[in-house]
């Protein structure tokens, strides 16, 4: 070799390590590069190696599934032993409509009940007090025990898990319990979840379910947890929700942080009430959004599991390993779906669902492709179920537990997400905990700022959304819009039946049950959820229970920060 020819290059080539050589070639080939960040604001490098994994935290080597710190999953067998519960949200029209849709989805492969009530129910009203046009358009109109019985006809609630989208005061569970009582089903066999029972998430992000004042909702939730522990022991009364906050704009790290802070708040409230951590923590469940940033979502879940495992032991004093398990339901993100070229949403939902599966979820809802056009049609819902069936049965995603564990990137990102989540939780702690942080509007302001940031990124084209700000094509959206509205005649008949039923029930019993609610509300040692169950048995309606509790506990006003 002629050393006189470019000696410096020759010398560099000898001294460069493979890593430095790659870095040099990468820089030269890429030229100017815009920095890449994930949604939570963590800088993302082009390549990860062992040095990245070891830089953060002390969690190397990895633990095993089913063992603290649960990074790799809360059960030893995870999806290889038992796949996630396939839980599709349904809610539609009259109880008869709901029942028909439920049974058809169960034939298609749904394995559990999930009941979404009409928006009038969410707002705390009976059907005879709201605009008729809106009845049953987004959920089932269930106002009393009879309606619950009809909704669940032919479904053995002693065998099949039921999720009720049922925030305080939890009338739907009360109706379910009395329906079970009438059928002779032992309450101790009933399993399921008071889905979205977390009043804080509603207050912060989604006024949708906000029926009672903040302190009133807090009281009813604690009574609900205590009552279920005693009488419906296999029911999960506490579902801590990150989904609303992420849908409302929180970054994945913020959503996880606020959810964990909410769980701490609720757990500390339970402890202050005299409950033992190991009595209620095993029944805590979590509900998260799964957005499109694939690895960020996986890291979010792995980090969340790890943090909760530590908090339950060190801060809340749990001793039972079951108290430390971070059980969660995931729902693919509706905000990510587009009205433009809506069939693309099937691809988006698939990627989101995979992130949830690799993130180690216990239960999964996949969105229908047509949710950005209207409430999901039966056709759209069936594709959403099929997407799960394909992921579970055809693609072998469940063969190996935590298949991305050990990936330099996933491990480094899990560590970084953990740091980020902890830093946001510190802000909440410094504000006096989650209850105070939402009462003052701190959390809402952070969330609004993140929502605005995201929208600006989409508007500027920094965040590509296929069909919206890139790859646009002319397409007639109406070709994909299948709008299902309840049959007005069937809804009118439902209304007439309700009116007649109200007239025929015992006014004396109704008054007695309402008084019982008030007396219990006035007595801090009484259990309000017990009084609500008694009210359901005495034929109180949902609207009557909500109205009375609003009067006694204070009316909820949404706190709005623009």
């Amino acid at each position: 070799m002629n050393k006189s020819l470019s000696p410096s290059i020759e010398q560099d080539a000898v001294e460069l390590t493979p890593q430095l050589a790659w870095e040099q070639e990468y820089r030269e080939s890429m030229g100017e590069e815009r920095p890449v960040e994930n949604v939570s604001g963590i800088p993302i490098k082009p390549l990860y190696g062992p040095q990245d994994w070891q830089r953060y935290g002390d969690h190397n080597p990895l633990s095993y599934p089913g063992q603290a710190d649960y990074t790799r999953g809360i059960y030893a067998t995870m999806h290889r032993g038992r796949t996630w519960t396939q839980r599709q949200l349904i809610g539609l029209g009259t109880p008869a409509d709901y029942n028909a849709r439920l049974r058809s989805l169960m034939d298609d492969g749904a394995t559990a009940v999930s009941l979404i009530p009409c928006n009038s129910v969410f707002r705390g009203y009976d059907m005879d007090t709201v605009d008729a046009e809106l009845l049953g358009t987004c959920g089932v109109v269930a106002n009393n025990v009879d309606h619950m019985e009809r909704s669940l006809e032919g479904v053995d609630v002693g065998k099949i898990s039921c999720a009720m989208n049922d925030p305080s005061p939890f009338t739907l569970l009360a109706f379910l319990l009395i329906a079970a009582e009438r059928r002779g089903t032992d309450w101790r066999t009933i399993t399921g979840t008071s889905n979205q029972s977390d009043y804080i998430s509603h207050f912060v992000a989604n006024h949708m379910f906000y029926r009672l004042s903040l302190p009133g909702a807090r009281r009813v939730l604690l009574d609900h947890i205590a009552y279920c522990k005693q009488f419906v022991p296999r029911w999960n009364p506490m579902s801590v929700v990150g989904q609303h906050m992420q849908q409302a704009g929180a970054t994945p790290a913020e959503a996880m942080a606020f959810t964990l802070s909410t769980a701490i708040q609720n757990a500390e409230d339970c402890i202050a009430r005299g409950m033992q951590p190991d009595d209620f923590l095993p029944r805590f469940t979590f509900f998260f959004d799964i957005s499109l940033n694939f690895f960020e979502e996986i890291a979010k879940f792995r980090a969340g599991r790890r943090i909760w495992s530590r908090i339950t032991k060190d801060r809340l004093g749990a001793k039972d390993p079951r108290s430390r398990r971070f059980k969660f339901h995931g729902q693919t993100s509706g905000v990510d779906l587009t009205r433009q070229q809506p069939l693309n949403n099937i691809s988006r939902v698939t990627v989101q669902a995979m992130a949830g599966i690799f993130g180690g979820l216990q239960s999964l809802h996949t969105d229908a492709y047509d949710e950005a056009l209207a409430c999901p049609s039966e056709f759209g819902a069936r594709i959403a179920v099929a997407t799960q069936n394909i992921l579970r049965e055809e693609s072998h995603l469940t063969d190996v537990i935590d298949p991305l564990g050990g990936s330099f990137y996933v491990e480094a990102l899990t560590d970084q997400m953990e740091e980020k989540i902890l830093s946001i939780m510190k802000i909440v702690d410094d504000a006096g905990g989650m209850y105070k942080a939402v009462e003052s509007g701190l959390v809402q302001r952070m969330l609004g700022a993140s929502a605005q940031r995201f929208q600006n990124r989409v508007d500027s084209g920094e965040q590509i959304v296929v069909g919206v700000n890139a790859y646009k094509v002319d397409e007639d959206a109406s070709a994909h819009t299948i709008v299902e509205r309840p049959d007005p005649a069937a809804m009118q008949a439902h209304m007439d039946g309700f009116t007649a039923w109200k007239r025929e029930r015992s006014a004396v019993e109704v008054d007695k049950a309402l008084d019982h609610l008030t007396r219990t509300a006035e007595d801090p040692s009484g259990n309000l959820f017990g009084a609500i169950v008694d009210g359901a048995r005495a034929n109180l309606t949902h609207g009557e229970i909500c109205e009375r509790l609003r009067r006694d506990l204070g009316f909820g006003q949404p706190l709005t920060i623009v």
Partner: protein
């Protein structure tokens, strides 16, 4: 009135039963950033409450955000505005409105429906245009 000293007055609100307000908050903030006077309400406004507010605040445009079928009662709002003599006020709807349910809104007098994917720039520009229209209509009729 010159174009220079004209500040559109817009009411951003939600009627009906739905509480999802991410969209309405973002649009309200964007209108404010674009130099408009913004009256913003939390969700669950009744139709009479919206009419009353529109009168009291003398708004040019009402923006209704609807994500969960609340658009179905927009024709009722239009009738109530008409009844209150607020014909000059322009109404726009943003959110999820199925294609086959757009016509009934437009027929009831809604000026435009902003579907998901519309940029904030487009929304604020359009609202400004409608506000100018409304103000000119007021100047003509003296209402």
């Amino acid at each position: 009135m010159t174009a220079k000293d004209f500040r559109p007055r817009v009411l951003v609100t939600k009627i009906g039963l739905d509480g999802h307000d991410r969209g309405s908050r973002i649009v309200a903030a964007a209108c404010r950033d674009a130099g408009m006077e913004v009256v913003y309400t939390p969700p669950w406004q009744s139709i009479p409450a919206v009419v009353k507010l529109a009168l009291e605040e003398d708004v040019d445009v009402i923006g209704i955000s609807s994500l969960a079928t609340d658009h179905l009662i927009v024709p009722k709002l239009m009738a109530a505005l008409h009844e209150a003599g607020l014909n000059r006020v322009r109404v726009v709807v943003g959110g999820i409105v199925p294609d086959n349910e757009q016509a009934q809104l437009i027929e009831s007098g809604v000026r435009q429906i902003f579907h998901p994917g519309t940029t904030l720039d487009d929304i604020t520009t359009q609202i400004s245009t409608y506000a100018t229209e409304a103000r000119l209509a007021a100047a003509e009729t003296g209402v």
